[in-house]
Symmetry: C2
Subunit: 443 residues, 2 copies
């Protein structure tokens, strides 16, 4: 290391110079030979076994420069863009109309196969509505939220009013109850793409309800957005006073138009339809109101409603997943997402032999309540056909059911959709063929 | 509530109908009268004091519809956009060149005044480089990371290789050491906009170094990006083996080009320059190497380097902040961000009387290590001039200094920039004038 160059007189003003400074000896041999695949696999084995790598070979490489350099423009200064090499996009929810032919039904699914971490980028957050394909274009200066009905003080809030009030920031998923209605499709985007997770910021609904003064006997609220046909949901007062949020912020900026700009109700852990977008009115009422969002699947008993409206404990392996291709046997990190409407994820188990043996997966980062939680599992694939599954156990002890258990519960054949309850939280099996191709194992 | 309409026969197929369904009695009187400002202020007082509101009046309103509805298009299906009413953008770091005239110096600051929660949207993440205004346009298929030098097994990784390895996801801030060099400017974007926070996903650098086999006596690494003049940093081996990350993911999608696509080194809590963008090479070495990133401000002693490179405990009130305007006396949530290179934020204190009395602020959400942490404070402004400040205390007991303390430490007048150390983590005072206007109180 005697070649170390020391520019002891290099101070701040050097940054004004345009002369390249080569800081490090360039005499190291580099050729275009890439590290050998088998070598990497050996490293992988070492990783999984926790054993230090015994034999090695020198890997050299020509480190290529970038394709080009792009000059800063007004546009990328103000609000940056992703790389032109990244083309991950949402797609219409499987089996539904093409984007050009949207009618009332507008469901677009997030590309879970490309997901990393737990945040869904706002531009890729799933969106679902059965109330028209048109996104309301709302001027936040004119927008109001009214709270009325069985309250002592009916109140109307501007956006500025709401932003003056005590706020909270929480990570929460939203999932459409119809997620997995395409359970026989090929990719995870088709089968599970109607769930997403974001950092939400807003005012606790309880703060507003306490200001309004809820009257005795008011067991429900009805929350209404600005949609043409008045998308609305009835929510038990216990939930409204517990953890519901009136959100103006999402992933550090205003809620996106497709997610309810300027105001969205969050009912954490409840089916997606309860998280009313473009929220303009909350009426406090004494009983369940049947709304457009009720497909006949919702109980009207306030004592038991919350449990029925919750998303069950759920998980899915995002990589490797259906339609993906493993390049060969060796080490892989199996990675996936788990979540539950019942609270935080307590544990995730993974099997690589179709359910005979289960191992604890690693939870990455803190497991937030009603939030996507990233799990990983270190796996050495021996190259033979097998089946990967994951299973979520939440903090109140709920266990994600197998397909057989779910079918028994619903009294239906395993390959049938549940007819009564919208959501299907049974285990997703991915079949790994000997050629490394990944397939949905549901017949 | 006898007007409740119950459509007991409304099932799923109703969503195919285009007939609006009015679910709720529309007989409630609504006029265009907005809730009275004084009424809101009274509510605010109730909030702050925890006292139920004693007197109220009926607030009615005409709830306006949206400006229009926007039809779903291919573009917004694939990758969504923000509202046209949201215009928060980054700006060139104060006093520097306009976007059209960028030379070597390309520094753009995030709009902290508009921030909510802790995530900085990737499109608004600050960016700084003194090595040219051109952003490398890198094909991830061709990109390689080489680890060489004092290792038993020099290794070269493709992006696919790295994505097969064990990963972690962590929330971390990055802050430019030059943040606050514009300490007399008007807005927080100008004074503090060179810090941001994102959810980063990648492989622990220690995982790669262990695979390569670090040799005895290798106390440093030098990390190099693809920039024209080879932006690089020397990092102590203790830090490299502790919590440094090789990141390919940011806020749930690939790292953005301005942040180092496809690969960025994260050195959590260290000054921004250590978080090398467009990372292509890590050389394991036996001593400190002076690089282009060293402005003469970095110690070369590996035993003490880490402490010197760390961002100190820091906080700033984002709302209300310089250039903003309070509409009048009454209740406000004071909101801000705190962070420290020393670990997690343990406590934040707020004063509204220029530092005579300090109160504990509320921490919103879990305080992650080396991450922006949102704090809030419930404040009833009486309408008289005052001064707001915040103070961060981190988990290892470091306390954010006052300007006087910082000046004494640096042996300089309080209104001068520190000449030796790049960063200034002293308290930011915001002056509130009687007319509700907010000003930078630093002379």
């Amino acid at each position: 290391m005697s070649l170390a160059l020391k520019f002891l007189s290099v101070y701040f003003f050097v940054t004004e110079l345009s002369v390249p400074v080569n800081f490090i000896d360039e005499g190291i041999t580099m050729d275009s030979k890439k590290s050998d695949r088998r070598e990497f696999l050996k490293r992988g084995a070492a990783l999984a076994g926790g054993v230090a790598l015994g034999t090695t070979k020198t890997a050299n490489a020509q480190l290529e420069g970038p394709e080009s350099f792009q000059r800063g423009t007004d546009e990328i200064v103000g609000y940056g863009k992703r790389s032109r090499f990244v083309d991950s996009v949402r797609i219409p929810h499987g089996g539904r109309a093409s984007p050009d032919a949207f009618g009332l039904d507008f469901h677009i699914a997030t590309p879970l196969q490309d997901s990393v971490g737990v945040i869904t980028p706002s531009s890729l957050h799933y969106m679902g509505t059965t109330r028209g394909s048109f996104i309301p274009d709302i001027d936040p200066e004119k927008h109001r939220l009214m709270i009325h009905g069985m309250v002592d003080n009916p109140l109307v809030f501007t956006m500025d009013d709401l932003k003056r009030m005590p706020s909270v920031t929480r990570l929460h998923f939203i999932e459409c109850a119809g997620n997995r209605s395409n359970r026989r499709h090929t990719t995870i985007q088709e089968t599970h793409g109607m769930t997403s997770c974001a950092e939400w910021t807003g005012v606790l609904l309880s703060t507003l309800l306490k200001e309004a003064g809820v009257q005795a006997g008011a067991d429900w609220i009805v929350a209404e957005g600005v949609e043409e046909v008045k998308g609305a949901s009835s929510i038990p007062m216990t939930k409204a006073m517990d953890d519901c949020l009136i959100c103006y912020g999402m992933n550090g900026e205003p809620v996106r138009p497709q997610q309810g700009f300027p105001l969205r109700l969050m009912a954490p852990g409840f089916e997606g339809i309860f998280n009313v977008k473009w929220l303009r009115r909350i009426k406090v009422v004494d009983q369940y109101y049947m709304t457009y969002n009720d497909f006949g699947h919702l109980t009207q008993d306030p004592a038991t409603a919350a449990l029925g409206y919750q998303i069950g404990p759920k998980s899915v392996i995002t990589h490797p997943s259906g339609g993906q291709q493993l390049p060969g046997a060796g080490f892989y990190e199996v990675s996936g997402l788990a979540w539950s409407g019942g609270g935080s994820v307590a544990r995730v188990e993974v099997t690589t032999d179709g359910g005979r043996t289960w191992f604890d997966a690693d939870i990455r980062g803190p497991a937030h309540k009603m939030a996507h939680t990233r799990f990983t599992f270190e796996w050495n694939w021996d190259g033979s056909p097998c089946e990967l599954q994951s299973r979520c156990i939440d903090e109140i002890g709920q266990v994600q059911p197998s397909r057989a258990q779910a079918a028994e519960f619903w009294n239906q054949p395993p390959d049938q959709a549940p007819r009564v309850r919208g959501q299907d939280n049974s285990i997703q099996p991915w079949r790994v063929d000997g050629d490394g191709s990944i397939h949905n194992a549901i017949a």
